[in-house]
């Protein structure tokens, strides 16, 4: 530790470090354990000194245990009175910083119920659990209107287990007396008749027909020792107790959970009231339920309202004015249906539906976790858009995404579809454990598949048997076994996380000639692959022959002389006719070797072998035993003419090449390049020089070999040298072999003598040199280059690719921990027993996918149509669209849900067809106006006595503004884009320095919001504000909130100001000259509505206010018109433009604009 280090530590504790010093401090603490210990001790002393000097103590008791001394009624006002004692109240728990001299804290948290019914002094435990209960949101909105059990709903009617009893038991009892055996209390369970009826020591929890003998009844009415226990944070109302008692009196009949019972298609009930239209069976079910509840349906909404509603629901955009006018010119029911068909045919429909699927499929453009690296799975996103656009039946949609890789002869797009199961997060943090995150990935697949297709929260069963639903932990890992067999590594960046394949967007429109080229190139590869075995065989035969002759091929050369550059060492012949170099501290030298050629001799190549020697280490006298051959020249001098002729070398091949020093570099005679061998695994190194043309010596002569060692490194010249010559014709062919010793050894053996490993080695080696394949690959690469240059390039996409052979085993993981597998038993794959009993189980992922969309599956069609209903109506028939289990909501209209489910299957899973049925029903077409009576009976509009009305999501809100302004760029699919976002947002949360958001340019700023780059660690803030899900894991339901932040975003976000400016410009350019015409046009562009006179008056007064304002402050007009990257229309008068921009901005902020109604 230096003085500097010490002052760093002190500065840190005193809070005075500069950023630079902070960095130095981190560096110090990172590298020096002593510094870390010193920091802890210094902090300790610092804090002791502080305390001695009178710092107030932190309270160690989070709540007060002493009984209240005053009337609780008065204490409710206490928190205010306690201001002096610095009280901080968080959700009912009070923290009090005690000063030694201040009064002891008073009981602060008093709940309203206690005021009504004063209880004896609460124990600390009670106070505590109440406080915790307040901390956790109690989630009381779970039960639907139909579920609030009332005795009134039951008189005369037999009590239904599914409708009335299961919700009570599930909410209050199953946690301790349910399916989870490990946590079961007192061995009593109430979820199944077998256990509930069983008597223990003569006492049975439930005795059917005999409430008085049933322990359950005793205990729920027991005031001293009630069930659920008073500290359990659960309680039964008097009505619920009565219901339970009556149900037992009526025989305590259990029913299978509704969602596990296969649906039967109910006949649509008849409707008595003919005052409103009935367009299709949906209306029969809805109106019959309304009649039952004493409600009546609403009349049809006004045509422009209806047209806007359908457009928003199906496309997420306001109506196209041409389409709208066409419909409004003759707004018959038939015209509406045609209008709906046009919406369903639009790209916007496909994009809108894909957006919902991206949320469910947890699609994102980064890997998540700490590093959150970018990935490029977006071709899959385009696959989804295309599937919706082409109206791919939902069963195929399912099978291709869950098991596209396993389909027989899977096409490219089917393999791409399988990326669905790879959209999970992917950890590439240093130190992340591959086994751990492999398990996380697989579990994510199970949970996502379960939520989307089964509507079940199987994730609960990862660590223990499900507390409410019949899903055991064992079954969870049996599902797991379908998804763990793709030979993945678990960690690493997504773009490299095998299996990965390169894909282009299936939406790309590829020019026919280019596609043809690609097809041909791919065909050539396929053909080359098919014929490869023949070529391999041929090559093996030829080269076996060649290699066998090889020993005869090289003849050691006897040099006439061997000399070096004057004064730069010397070459000495050894008895074995090799030449030893002697000399020290040689900077540059050359070897001159003379070789005699007899008349008639033929020379096709030379071989130089660098050898070791006892007098030096490695292959030269240099420190590291390396050499650099920077040049080779050959010249031939026939004795007669004595005229030297240069001999050209075609190729140089070496047994080993150091990186950046390939053999071929020896031929360029440049001093700064050469052949070198650092890292050579062998005791010698060889260089083969192939002559361009065989040298046929017509007469005797001499060959001079001139080797240059002109590198800047000292003593980097060959230490001992052997020269060999060859007259073999086929020198070039054999070369690849000599340089690869194992291959060379293998090919010299007879075919029968080669081991399997050697055969494989030869096969692999051939692949690397197969000229036919090489050519085909080069050709394909060229075509792909052409694709890329046209923006049609392929990017890596994480896909599934089921391993062949024995599947990877799956084990039950204790407590869901990756490192605690129960290896006593490898679990066989199987579907949940509750959904698919028996031994006939899907054998693999493909069969599982097929079963999911089979008629035998009771739940999937219901779950899927419920989500489709939710997308159109705002709320599903089962509100908890993610949970159809026992903790989920019961369907508000079960018959309709079943009818829709079976209608969907019967139609061949026709997605557009079902949406069409929903939006053409009278139920969808109703006016959404409510009234006080309706608000009282059905405030959430669950029975649908009126049409849907809900705030749009942030994606639609931005798209609507862009669309109204004419800025929206309608390009379909492609790489994600980066529209405006507050500066520095990424950098402030990113784990790595230099993670900056680089805004897109031009039209990419104005693409639909679904194309906005989705970074998992930093979601697009505009979407976060409007309740978008984070895409970390599967999400099938959005909450819809209204918060001030949203209003602030709409008012101040650059996007909306810029949209308003462009919208105003459209008004000025495209509408008449009168302000009324222009304002009405702006409103119509944003909403599709025509303003009434009251509205017009507001717009006009707003506009004239701003016209006056900007006339007085022209400089403000300039500023106001300067927001956003799009250019301003210079033709427009700035004052006028600014005034209309202000009103356009008002219009984009209207409730009408951002609400589906």
């Amino acid at each position: 530790m230096t003085d500097h280090d010490r002052s760093l530590l002190t500065g840190y504790l005193a809070g005075t470090l500069t950023p630079k010093e902070s960095e130095a401090l981190n560096q110090l603490l990172r590298s020096d354990p002593e510094a870390r210990a010193a920091l802890l001790q210094q902090a300790h002393l610092d804090q002791l000194l502080h305390d001695v000097s009178g710092e107030p103590e932190v309270s160690v008791i989070p709540f007060n245990t002493s009984p209240p001394k005053e009337n609780p009624r008065r204490q409710k006002t206490l928190p205010l009175a306690l201001g002096a004692a610095a009280a901080l109240t968080i959700a009912g728990i009070s923290f009090v910083a005690l000063r030694p001299d201040s009064a002891p804290p008073k009981e602060l948290a008093v709940r309203d119920e206690q005021l009504e019914k004063p209880k004896p002094n609460p124990t600390p435990e009670e106070t505590y659990s109440r406080a915790i209960a307040k901390l956790q949101d109690s989630g009381s909105q779970k039960r639907s209107v139909s579920q609030a059990p009332t005795l009134v709903s039951a008189p005369g009617k037999k009590i239904s287990y599914n409708q009335h009893i299961r919700p009570i038991l599930s909410e209050n009892c199953f946690h301790c007396h349910g399916p989870d055996q490990a946590k079961r209390e007192a061995d009593i369970a109430l979820h199944e008749p077998e256990v509930a009826y069983a008597a223990i020591k003569g006492i049975a929890p439930i005795v059917p027909g005999k409430p008085d003998e049933s322990e359950v009844v005793h205990r729920i009415f027991d005031e001293d020792d009630p069930m659920p226990p008073s500290d359990s944070n659960r309680s039964l109302t008097d009505e619920e107790k009565e219901l339970l008692k009556r149900w037992i009196a009526e025989g305590a009949e259990y029913e299978k959970h509704w969602a596990f019972v296969p649906p039967e298609k109910p006949a649509p009930p008849t409707v008595e009231d003919h005052s409103v239209p009935v367009h299709n069976p949906i209306d029969h079910f809805i109106q019959s339920k309304l009649a039952e509840k004493g409600l009546s349906p609403s009349p049809e909404a006004k045509p422009e309202v209806l047209a806007r509603r359908a457009s928003l629901a199906l496309t997420g955009l306001q109506p196209d004015l041409d389409l709208l006018d066409q419909y409004l010119s003759n707004p018959t029911s038939q015209a509406y249906e045609q209008y709906v068909d046009q919406l369903l045919e639009s790209d916007a429909y496909a994009e809108r539906m894909a957006l919902f699927w991206l949320d469910a499929g947890r699609y994102a453009d980064t890997d998540g976790y700490q590093n959150d690296s970018p990935r490029s799975n977006w071709p899959w996103r385009d696959w989804v858009i295309k599937a919706y656009r082409d109206n791919m039946p939902f069963d195929r949609f399912t099978i291709e995404q869950l098991a596209g890789d396993m389909l027989p002869d899977a096409t490219e797009t089917q393999q791409l579809a399988s990326a669905f199961n790879r959209n999970h997060r992917q950890n590439n943090e240093g130190g992340a454990l591959a086994e751990e995150f492999l398990v996380e990935n697989v579990i994510d697949r199970v949970e996502t598949t379960s939520t989307i297709w089964l509507g079940l929260t199987t994730g609960c069963a990862r660590c223990h048997d499900h507390k409410y639903d019949p899903i055991s932990q064992r079954e969870f890992f049996q599902l797991y076994a379908y998804f763990n067999n793709i030979n993945e590594r678990g960690i690493g960046r997504g773009i490299e996380a095998q299996p990965v394949k390169r894909f282009t967007s299936p939406l790309n429109k590829i020019p026919a000639d280019l596609q043809r080229k690609k097809d041909l190139a791919e065909q050539a590869i396929t053909d080359a692959r098919k014929t490869a075995p023949e070529r391999l065989q041929e090559w093996l035969e030829n080269h076996h022959q060649l290699a066998s002759e090889d020993s005869n091929r090289w003849n050691q050369a006897f040099l006439q002389s061997a000399s070096t550059t004057e004064g730069q060492g010397a070459l000495t012949a050894l008895p074995d006719h090799t030449y030893l170099f002697e000399g020290n501290n040689i900077s540059q030298t050359s070897y001159y070797l003379q070789l005699k050629l007899e008349k008639g001799e033929r020379l096709t190549g030379l071989r130089l072998d660098a050898l070791g020697h006892d007098s030096f280490k490695g292959l030269s006298r240099s420190n590291n035993g390396n050499f650099v051959l920077t040049g080779v020249n050959l010249s031939h001098t026939p004795t007669q003419t004595e005229q030297a002729l240069s001999v050209k070398i075609a190729k140089a091949v070496a047994s080993f090449e150091q990186k950046n020093y390939p053999a071929q570099n020896a031929l360029d005679n440049k001093d700064n390049t050469g052949w070198a061998v650092s890292g050579n695994p062998d005791s010698e190194a060889s260089l083969v020089l192939v002559l361009e043309k065989a040298l046929e010596a017509q007469v005797a002569g001499e060959l001079e070999i001139h080797l240059q060692f002109n590198s800047p490194f000292a003593d980097h010249n060959i230490g001992r040298l052997r020269v060999q010559t060859s007259s073999s014709k086929d020198l070039l062919n054999g070369l690849g072999l000599q340089t690869n010793k194992p291959v060379y050894a293998a090919i010299r053996k007879k075919e029968a003598d080669r081991s399997a490993a050697e055969k494989k080695l030869l096969q692999d080696h051939f692949k690397t040199i197969d000229p036919v394949m090489k050519k085909a690959e080069e050709n394909l690469a060229k075509v792909e280059g052409e694709f890329a240059s046209k923006g049609l390039g392929a990017v890596p996409v994480m896909v599934m690719n089921e391993s062949s052979g024995e599947p990877a085993p799956a084990y039950l993981l204790n407590r869901g921990q990756y490192n605690e597998p129960d290896k006593s038993e490898a679990l066989p794959r199987r579907m949940l027993e509750a959904l698919l009993p028996g031994d006939d189980q899907p054998a693999d992922r493909l069969e599982l996918a097929r079963w999911l969309v089979s008629r035998e599956n009771p739940i999937t069609a219901r779950v899927v149509v419920n989500r489709m209903w939710q997308r159109m109506m705002g709320v599903g028939l089962v509100k908890t669209s993610e949970d159809f289990g026992s903790q989920g909501e019961l369907p508000v209209n079960p018959e309709l849900l079943d009818w829709l489910a079976l209608e969907f299957i019967d139609s061949g899973w026709d997605v557009k067809g079902l949406y069409r049925t929903i939006v053409t029903s009278h139920t969808f077409r109703q006016s959404s106006r409510s009234n006080p009576r309706l608000n009282e009976i059905d405030p959430e509009n669950r029975y649908l006595a009126r049409g849907p009305r809900y705030r749009l999501d942030g994606f639609a809100i931005r798209d609507i503004a862009l669309n109204a302004s004419g800025l929206l760029h309608p390009k379909l699919g492609g790489a994600p884009v980066k529209p405006y976002q507050p500066a520095g947002l990424w950098a402030s949360v990113a784990a790595n320095k230099g993670t900056n958001y680089i805004e897109s340019k031009g039209q990419d700023l104005f693409r639909k919001s679904m194309y906005t780059y989705w970074k998992r660690a930093v979601n697009p803030p505009r979407q976060t504000i409007f309740d978008a899900s984070g895409r970390e894991v599967c999400n099938v339901r959005h909450k819809i909130t209204n918060t001030p932040l949203q209003a602030l975003a709409l008012m101040n976000d650059e996007t909306f100001l810029e949209a308003a400016r462009n919208l105003a410009a459209r008004g000025l350019r495209e509408a008449g000259a009168q302000p009324q015409e222009r304002l009405a046009y702006l409103y119509r562009l944003a909403t599709g509505y025509t303003p009434d006179s009251e509205m017009m008056a507001i717009f006009e007064s707003n506009h004239s206010h701003f016209a006056e304002h900007f006339a007085q402050h022209p400089e403000e007009a300039d500023d106001f018109l300067n927001v956003g990257a799009s250019p301003r229309d210079p033709q427009l008068d700035p004052i006028e433009h600014a005034a209309y921009t202000a009103t356009a901005h008002l219009i984009l902020n209207l409730d009408e604009t951002i609400t589906l109604e």
């Binding site: 401090l25 990172r30 002791l48």
Partner: protein, 178 residues
């Protein structure tokens, strides 16, 4: 209802919590570099210790257990806090978390009496610095001015003073206090 036995176990737990307060705070302060943040995290830590008190296994080290809880609260705090307001890097915080249980294991509390006598034994200049910084709440800068020296020099002197105090406390702790 509530039985006496439970009461005594609660008060024992309260004792246990008290016994680690100063160490937890030291640890947290060293990790966040800001006293009031450390106090906030300590508050939350205490709440969690109470909530999870049934998880504590008798016979194991209460200090080690509570430090682990404090570490998780610290990490939660760091997650809430934006990156550029955190001084120490994640890896450093992890290293300190791993080493803190040992480094601070022998610190006893309360220490006030001992500390005061150690303080009295400090060389005068160091004592004045300590008093100026901790009792009069003077910044390093002001102290440097008062003592006609530089900020780094004051920092080093304070460092040494605290180091001497620590050694003195260790010595006193190993012998019974008066």
């Amino acid at each position: 209802m509530f039985v006496a036995e439970e009461d005594s176990s609660l008060s024992r737990f309260e004792q246990d919590i008290r016994s680690v307060q100063s160490r937890l705070k030291s640890y947290l302060f060293a990790s966040v570099g800001n006293r009031s943040d450390a106090d906030d995290i300590l508050q939350e830590t205490n709440l969690v210790l109470w909530r999870k008190r049934s998880d504590f296994q008798d016979g194991t080290s209460f200090w080690a257990w509570s430090q682990r809880v404090a570490f998780f609260q610290l990490m939660a705090f760091r997650k809430r806090r934006s990156q550029n307001r955190l001084i120490l890097d994640d890896d450093v915080v992890h290293l300190m978390a791993a080493e803190a249980p040992d480094t601070l294991s022998h610190e006893k509390e309360p220490q006030e009496k001992r500390l005061r006598s150690c303080l009295a034994a400090l060389p005068e200049r160091q004592r004045h610095l300590v008093e100026g910084h901790y009792f009069e709440r003077k910044s390093l800068k002001t102290l440097a001015k008062n003592f006609a020296t530089t900020v780094p020099a004051v920092g080093q002197a304070l460092y040494r003073a605290r180091h001497s105090l620590q050694l003195c406390l260790q010595k006193k702790n190993s012998t019974p206090s008066s």
